[in-house]
């Protein structure tokens, strides 16, 4: 031991060793580490899931709005003052077509008959299906599409032929159109086409904006009039307008559609309903984000609590480390990093949990899975900030402990 002992200016604690020591401290108390990180996991998980689900839901609504087009208007007769279903005047379509910015107009009327698969079925069991008259441009006007066959045209619209909406085809068990016939109002009609759902982007038939059309069997107005004496008054008119003038069009539509009783005409912009849904869901988002923030706060307090206890419990370890040459700063760094790792661990687990919940739920809803990167980044940053805040006080306390005090037998 005759080698000269040089005194370094300071002891040193390499960054990798700080990390290793902090990780080791957590690793040797696994259960406690997991339990105390859990609060952060739940908080971050909730926030990521809320943001992810709301974004996935919005993406879904945006897709539907895009498919629908924001320039579509629906004109209905509404309820007459005397009660009962009012109808629109026969020449409403022609009148509306004359409005300058209107690009296309298509009318649907009600046929007071039922559609049945065959004559063995009880005519009163309509299965919620209806018969409607449609013009040949209906599918185009609504951005719809034909699944099998074709839609009614000028020829088939005057014959005993029908085209089934998606739900109607399903309920009637019609899958192909090879001479399939259905019974409408006691007359055999040949099925020439089956449509896709008009609101194709949602799997949920009940929330479909065109529920009524999907459940309809369409026939031409001429044949309806000829066979069933159906009046030619439409009850719903779909209007595509130049989007720039849509407010003006909405303004003049009631008076144009029914000059005698414009107050009974109802004009709806279907995309508004979706946009309202989007707005409504974002108010819930704020609620859940708030709950997530509370969970996060509780998680942060949990970590602070665990770290304060750790400093008391590990007094001897702190004393030992001071005796081995750790400076106050080294002790502070170790405990701060432990808190940071703890919350980062919780944060990563929370992001994974939130993403998993989003993916599972969105998948179940048939939505596009959207996990916003800012939710992932924000979640991790929030976790680390909370860890820093929660760890600061315990770390400072650990560092302030005098070595002689810390080494006292507990």
């Amino acid at each position: 031991m005759s080698t000269p002992h040089k005194l370094p200016r300071s002891s040193s604690f390499r960054v990798v060793d700080v990390i290793g020591t902090a990780a080791g401290g957590l690793g040797s108390r696994k259960l406690r580490t997991v339990l105390s990180a859990l609060g952060i996991t739940i908080g971050i998980g909730a926030m990521v899931a809320v943001l992810g689900l709301s974004r996935s839901g919005s993406a879904e609504l945006e897709d539907r709005i895009a498919a629908l087009g924001t320039n579509l208007l629906r004109v209905t007769a509404g309820q007459g003052f005397g009660g009962g279903d009012a109808t629109l005047p026969e020449d409403a379509v022609a009148m509306i077509s004359r409005i300058g910015p209107v690009e296309s107009v298509s009318a649907v009327g009600t046929v007071d008959q039922s559609v049945l698969l065959n004559d063995l079925v009880n005519p009163n069991q309509t299965g919620g299906l209806s018969v409607k008259t449609a013009e040949s441009n209906l599918v185009v006007a609504l951005n719809g599409s034909v699944d099998v066959g074709r839609f009614l045209d000028d020829t088939t619209g005057t014959a005993t032929t029908t085209v089934l909406g998606s739900v109607a085809a399903e309920r009637l068990g019609v899958r192909d159109i090879d001479g399939t016939q259905v019974l409408i109002g006691g007359e055999w009609f040949t099925v020439v086409g089956v449509l896709n759902s008009f609101d194709d982007d949602t799997d949920d038939v009940d929330t479909s904006l065109f529920n009524d059309l999907d459940r309809a069997a369409f026939i031409g107005p001429d044949i309806a009039e000829a066979l069933f004496e159906t009046p030619r008054n439409p009850d719903t008119i779909y209007v595509r307008s130049n989007e720039a003038f849509i407010d003006d069009v909405i303004g003049v539509l009631p008076g144009t559609a029914d000059p005698e009783s414009p107050e009974e005409v109802e004009v709806v912009r279907p995309s508004d309903a979706l946009e309202a849904q989007e707005a409504a869901s974002s108010t819930f988002d704020n609620l859940f984000l708030g709950l997530g923030a509370v969970a996060l706060l509780v998680g942060g307090i949990g970590i602070a609590n665990v770290m304060v206890i750790a400093v008391i419990e590990r007094r001897n370890e702190i004393g030992l480390r001071r005796a081995l040459g750790a400076t106050r700063a080294h002790i502070r760094r170790q405990f701060l990093l432990e808190a940071l790792l703890l919350s980062a661990l919780g944060g990563v687990a929370g992001v994974l949990l939130g993403a998993a919940v989003t993916a599972l739920w969105a998948d179940r809803q048939g939505w596009r899975v959207v996990i916003p990167p800012e939710a992932i980044g924000g979640g991790l940053i929030a976790a680390v900030l909370i860890g820093a805040l929660a760890g600061l006080y315990p770390a400072v306390r650990a560092a302030r402990l005098a070595p002689t005090e810390a080494l006292r037998a507990s």
Binding site: R9, S11, G25, G325, T327, T404
Partner: protein, 238 residues
């Protein structure tokens, strides 16, 4: 105070000159009352005394865990009595090794990692720390227990790990605080034996104890009473 025949060109491992340590109070408690002590390099000495004699304070002051109220403390020739907390940490990391009665091993770490902790604050990379730890564990007779955790080791083995940790940085001075206090007599004897072996290899070791038997088995005894050195066996040989 150069009483043990230190070679003139060599400084003592530890030198205390007129060291006073007072704790505030009314009246203040004087735990060390003018202590002069020199321990040469390679010595194995006991600081012995009943509780309250000031030997714990001695341990703290010698180990730079606490500063004296007045007087001079030199370790391997370095004056340490007025250094900042940061500099004192450097002294402890490079010049002083500690052995505690309660071992103070880290439960989650294997023997080799516990010993390597003795070099943690030296800035050495892990590979070198582990290599030095393995060598030192071998030296205390635990070369076959490198990867056992403290709860898999006997009390004597744990204390050997703690001694290896104190030695691994090759300090100028090893301070052992009641190193056999938590051990049965048979294990105590083996630890005593180990201290002698390390002494023979050249380590400077000061054992702080209230155990007269342990103290008497060592080459030198410094007896404390009421904060003063009551008797130092080195005086006799003078």
């Amino acid at each position: 105070m150069n009483v043990t025949g230190t070679p003139p060109d060599d400084y003592p491992a530890l030198e205390l000159i007129d060291v006073v340590k007072e704790y505030p109070g009314a009246p203040p408690v004087r735990a060390l009352d003018g202590v002069n002590l020199s321990v040469a390099q390679g010595e194995l000495a006991a600081i012995v005394g009943p509780s309250g004699s000031g030997k714990s304070t001695m341990l703290h002051v010698m180990g730079t865990l606490d500063r004296p109220t007045s007087g001079s403390v030199r370790i391997a020739g370095h004056e340490v009595s007025s250094l900042s907390d940061r500099r004192l940490s450097a002294v402890r990391s490079a010049l002083v090794g500690f052995v505690f009665q309660q071992f103070f091993l880290l439960d989650g770490d294997s023997a080799i990692d516990n010993v390597a902790t003795g070099l943690l604050y030296s800035g050495e990379p892990l590979r070198k720390r582990r290599a030095a730890a393995a060598t030192t564990l071998d030296r205390v007779g635990l070369g076959h227990r490198l990867h056992h955790r403290p709860n898999e080791l006997s009390g004597g083995e744990r204390q050997r790990v703690a001694i290896a940790r104190a030695l691994v940085a090759r300090p100028a001075l090893v301070l052992a605080d009641e190193p056999t206090g938590n051990l049965d007599s048979k294990t105590s004897d083996s630890i005593q034996q180990l201290l002698h072996e390390l002494h023979d290899e050249g380590a400077t070791i000061i054992v702080v104890t209230h155990d007269n038997d342990l103290a008497d088995s060592l080459p030198r005894q410094v007896r404390f009473r009421d904060g003063r050195i009551e008797h130092d066996s080195a005086w006799v040989s003078q």
